[in-house]
Point group: C2
Chain length 662, copies 2
């Protein structure tokens, strides 16, 4: 059992490479910027358990107090900081982590309880609203922070109080007399407990995670034989018409993926971050018990079903998920409008981070490039778009098209600040996503999911195996590989993902027999012994792709390799309507243009790429009109830039990914 | 000042004609069927003020008790019955009206109050929740019933208690000390009071209607300088998170068109029936005060603006309005999906009845065929589709495409039964929509908005002017006109609407100078003196029309004259997916086929009209794919039938109006 939050340490991104540069920005700029934000907003000091004026603010998203997530904001920052400190020591960051850990220690109650809101604002009300509140979610992030802290500092200063907190959960939740049959409205603690279990080996940690997962959505829970959230709401004396803001109707438990047991869920529903965190934990549970176990047989079909439903019916071209703002989540099948003025679009940064998490877990259950394709897609587009080039501005929602209500822009922080530190920690352990490996006696198998200039160092028996990639990815699809072993020989096998977007590819030298399984090219130990250097080439060229016609989106996208492109007004000063009426010419040739400002990237220029503007004058004063030529104003050039680069070069915030085709 | 509910009496539909036959079904079948429903469900006896078991049922649409509208169901039936009794006496219907009127009389409280719910179920709570409850809406329908009763029975048995009830309103509502500054959540009483004012001439009736209209949406009302619905909710001790089911968020007063004063509303929002009833009253108020008055200057721009927004951005091809089920109303501009599995569609029957009402009022303010075009569109499609051919089954929601969740089918009644008796009363006074007229001394102007075989008899001075139309409309666009005057000569002028769908038209004999203004052909008294018979021809041919491309609906519709067509599975047994993947060939020729079963109509057959089925296999397991030929399975014939005829010929409930084009 391995997790990317540990395995990343074996990866070194080559200095100056795409991801090394992004991670350097996070290390040098983002951590400091976010630390300042934590301090300025009161989060940094919140574990001192003093009253903060904002605690009196009415909830923006009823009934959840705005400061409810503060614990997790701090925890995610600590987690990310610990990963990045492993790159290079930073005394300011180190000191902040240490002070925060001290404050967390000091905030713990005698019985182990450790939560800002329920200690300072509503003492005595702990565990009375698992459905809406985020106690267990916060605890999950504290566990993850403690694991990262333990990994870097190699002490128990954070892990120890957290273990005491977990003991309280173990005593509190379960199906024994006197225990609560509840589970968190926002999953997170499940995956954290499973990771913790690996470190502690404590079967109670596994058992509690399994309980939370298996009890979820049970309408016959406990003595009352009722849904726990009903029991709990009744105990709170809640009026069923007092709806949480995110609920379209009373008892919308699908919002929390708690409308039925996970194994029985047919479609992916509700809040998209919750869904991803939950399924990540389910995948981990299956892995711990083995896919062939009873637990595997129970949950694996649901994992496959829900993943397929998400990818085929509920995902955007960027890998972003969630069309509906109200519940920050999934709409009905194929309902994927691109912007607020077209019916919605959400694609929260945290949700795409969750897709990466789930994809990585599924890859560990079944090496299949479909998962890695999506993981790469999300990383370059739906996640990376969440942070500015300078590392100091972020998105929460990632529309595919701007609108007057929602321009394409980033913010230095959010009242609900889940996304910024989530990007930080994800970039912190990013190396863990690029490859997975299994080692045994004098033997290693490395599955290469994604390509970048980086080195993997593996301890195998008494040797160190090194796998090096050298590439200009994502701009150039040539990857030079080199493997070597320091010490006694090791049988090294490699499996290289062939991206689904690669319409052709080659490997040089070319093995006599190409073995490809589930989208991975298998390179045997025998072949690698003779070929310590080789090159994989996946030529990247710009192309037009289209969404499933059942989405009713009459658009095409420009992509190149794993990168999804967009147009911005800064390159098209004539544009005034968010490119809503710009008609793409699918016959236009797409020319690559290497640029170096504000960062190096390949832009794509389509000469006369726009046929003109959609002309709807035939419909003036009418509901319908007879078909006619609907284009006017003549052709224009279009310049496409990577979606993740949007809102970094000025302009008026007009942006669109999918352009209209006729 | 004239209203269609009075002027209809001058029209006689020719026996055997399209509308004469529909009205006969209503007279002979629908009235009886609905009377039985009123009796079976408890509504008939409800004015006896006894407890009905259903009064204990929890509200289906919180917080509105399910029986809240019963008063109006009874009132609309009485209203419709009185109109239809004028066609021919029916002792059973007459007896039922009389008994119901007696029960209504008996239900009136000493102070004039007259409402089932607040007398039986929640006495003492009257007028405490104008926002959600339907007291004033019910009262409006009672006023309209009383006016119809008065028209037919020529006595005050219903009008008299209703006038006493209105006196109570006059005393209760207004801006004087001790009065309530409130107005109804569901408009209706406004238009009823204005019609009542015409009969009573009582300035208090006009004043009260004007108060309700002008106070609406005032955020600075009364002493508290707050929105009345806030004041009222606070007085009820209501938690702001206890949301009415129809509200997506607290204080969603746009649902009731009360988010801002009517004159300031930029876009048409919220519950579509409420919007139409409200604007109908506003148009009447403008007419009463004259468009050139201060009232006219205040409201006329809003009427034009909201009408245009509705037609250009928020209407379906059938004239149906409202895409959103939750609030039974308008979505954002151009958000017009066609079925539940595509993102929604509502198009409530009552809302289309409301569009007809508003269009007729606007025609009286400004003779412009754009209003009559929409009125005709709604009548043949969005309203007529609301009732089965046998007059005993109804729709509430009118999707343009069926889905597994919402098949194309009709029901004998509804818990919230607004639509069935609304169709009844609308067909009762339907003649009032076909033409409007003004008469003065020896002079008459008749504006002919719609065509059918019918005769208009007008008393002008000491003469009777008769205008007769003879036509097979809506199947044939030839209309034979004949005018005559019984008595001393009358200067008769005619204005004939040229439908916007008529790509060509002619009149024979042809006047030397054709005067056309705002879509109406003006025939002078001079010309008519010499041409008492003439023929207008508006050739009807099937054609493909398309929605505004900004709706993102890649479909085309088949229409012919005013009729919108659909496909049903009963003609296409191969269809299994609600025609969602059926690709229309816009080059297919459309052949007319005269049919006589289950009624006479023109079907349209497109040989090889379907190119095949949308093939999305390229997207299996993928979010996007490269463009390719997306059609498979070969061409098939398509048979289109009028949308209003759907769900009358068996089948599995699969139906679609707009077919996909590539």
């Amino acid at each position: 059992m391995e997790y990317p939050q540990e395995s990343f340490a074996a990866t070194t991104f080559t200095t100056g490479s795409f991801w090394a540069r992004r991670r350097e920005v996070v290390r040098k700029q983002t951590l400091r910027h976010q630390l300042k934000m934590l301090k300025d907003t009161g989060r940094y000091d919140a574990f001192k358990l003093k009253w903060h004026p904002s605690y009196s603010d009415p909830p923006t998203v009823y009934p959840v107090p705005n400061h409810q997530f503060w614990d997790s904001d701090v925890a995610k920052w600590i987690e990310g900081a610990c990963y990045l400190l492993m790159d290079s020591f930073d005394s300011e960051i180190d000191a902040a982590v240490k002070e925060m850990v001290q404050m967390i220690q000091g905030a713990q109650q005698a019985d182990g309880y450790l939560n800002i809101h329920y200690t300072v604002v509503e003492p005595g009300k702990r565990f009375t609203n698992l459905r809406d509140m985020h106690e267990l979610y916060n605890a999950g992030h504290l566990i993850e922070a403690a694991l990262a802290h333990h990994l870097y500092y190699k002490n128990d200063e954070l892990l120890s109080p957290i273990l005491k907190y977990v003991d309280l959960f173990v005593a509190t939740f379960g199906d024994q007399d006197g225990q609560l049959l509840g589970y968190p409205g926002h999953p997170e603690i499940e995956l954290a407990l499973l990771r913790l279990y690996k470190v502690t080996g404590n079967p109670e940690h596994l058992k509690l995670a399994k309980f939370f997962i298996e009890e979820r959505g049970n309408h016959q829970g406990g003595k009352g034989k009722r849904h726990y959230y009903d029991v709990e709401a009744e105990a709170r004396g809640e009026n069923e018409h007092e709806l949480p803001t995110c609920y379209p109707a009373a008892r919308s438990y699908w919002y929390q993926q708690a409308h039925k047991p996970i194994a029985e869920q047919e479609t992916i529903e509700g809040h998209s971050v919750r869904a991803m965190y939950l399924l990540t934990a389910v995948a981990d549970l299956v892995r711990i018990h083995q896919p062939t176990s009873e637990t595997g047989a129970k949950f694996l079909p649901a994992l496959h079903r829900l993943w397929s439903n998400m990818i085929e019916q509920k995902s955007y071209v960027t890998g972003g998920i969630g069309a509906i703002k109200k519940w920050e989540g999934f709409g009905i099948d194929y309902f994927l409008p691109h912007g607020t003025d077209e019916g919605g679009c959400y694609a929260e940064t945290c949700a795409a981070i969750g897709v990466m998490m789930l994809a990585e877990r599924l890859l560990r259950l079944e090496l299949n490039s479909q998962y890695a394709d999506i993981m790469e897609l999300c990383m370059y587009n739906a996640v990376l778009t969440g942070m500015s080039l300078d590392g100091k501005a972020f998105t929460y929602v990632n529309h595919l098209a701007s609108s007057n209500e929602d321009l394409s822009e980033r913010y230095e922080w959010f009242e609900c600040a889940c996304c910024p530190p989530n990007v930080t920690r994800t970039l912190g352990f990013l190396g863990g996503y690029f490859w997975t490996h299994t080692t045994s006696h004098k033997r290693a198998v490395v599955n290469v999911h994604m390509y970048t200039s980086a080195t993997l160092n593996l301890k195998v028996s008494d040797s160190t195996v090194t796998v090096t990639q050298k590439t200009e990815w994502p701009w150039n699809g040539d990857v030079e590989f080199e493997t070597c072993t320091d010490g006694p020989p090791v049988e090294l096998e490699l499996r290289l993902r062939i991206p689904s977007w690669a319409t052709s590819w080659e490997i040089a030298p070319r093995p006599d027999n190409l073995k490809i399984a589930n989208g991975y090219l298998h390179l045997s130990a025998e072949w690698l012994r003779e070929h310590s250097k080789f090159r994989l080439s996946c030529p990247m060229k710009p192309r037009f792709v289209r969404p499933n016609p059942l989405t009713m989106q009459p658009v095409a996208y420009v992509t190149r390799g794993p990168i999804v492109y967009c147009v911005e007004d800064v390159d098209h000063p004539w544009e005034q309507q968010h490119f809503k009426r710009t008609i793409l010419d699918l016959n236009a040739s797409l020319k690559e243009e290497l640029r170096s400002e504000p960062d190096s990237y390949i832009a794509i220029v389509a000469e006369n790429g726009s046929k003109g503007e959609l002309d709807t004058s035939a419909w003036d004063g009418q509901i319908v009109a007879e078909p006619k030529d609907e284009v006017s104003n003549g052709s224009k050039n279009l310049t496409f830039i990577p979606y993740y680069l949007r809102a970094n070069r000025g302009g008026r915030g007009q942006m669109r990914v999918g352009l209209r085709v006729l």
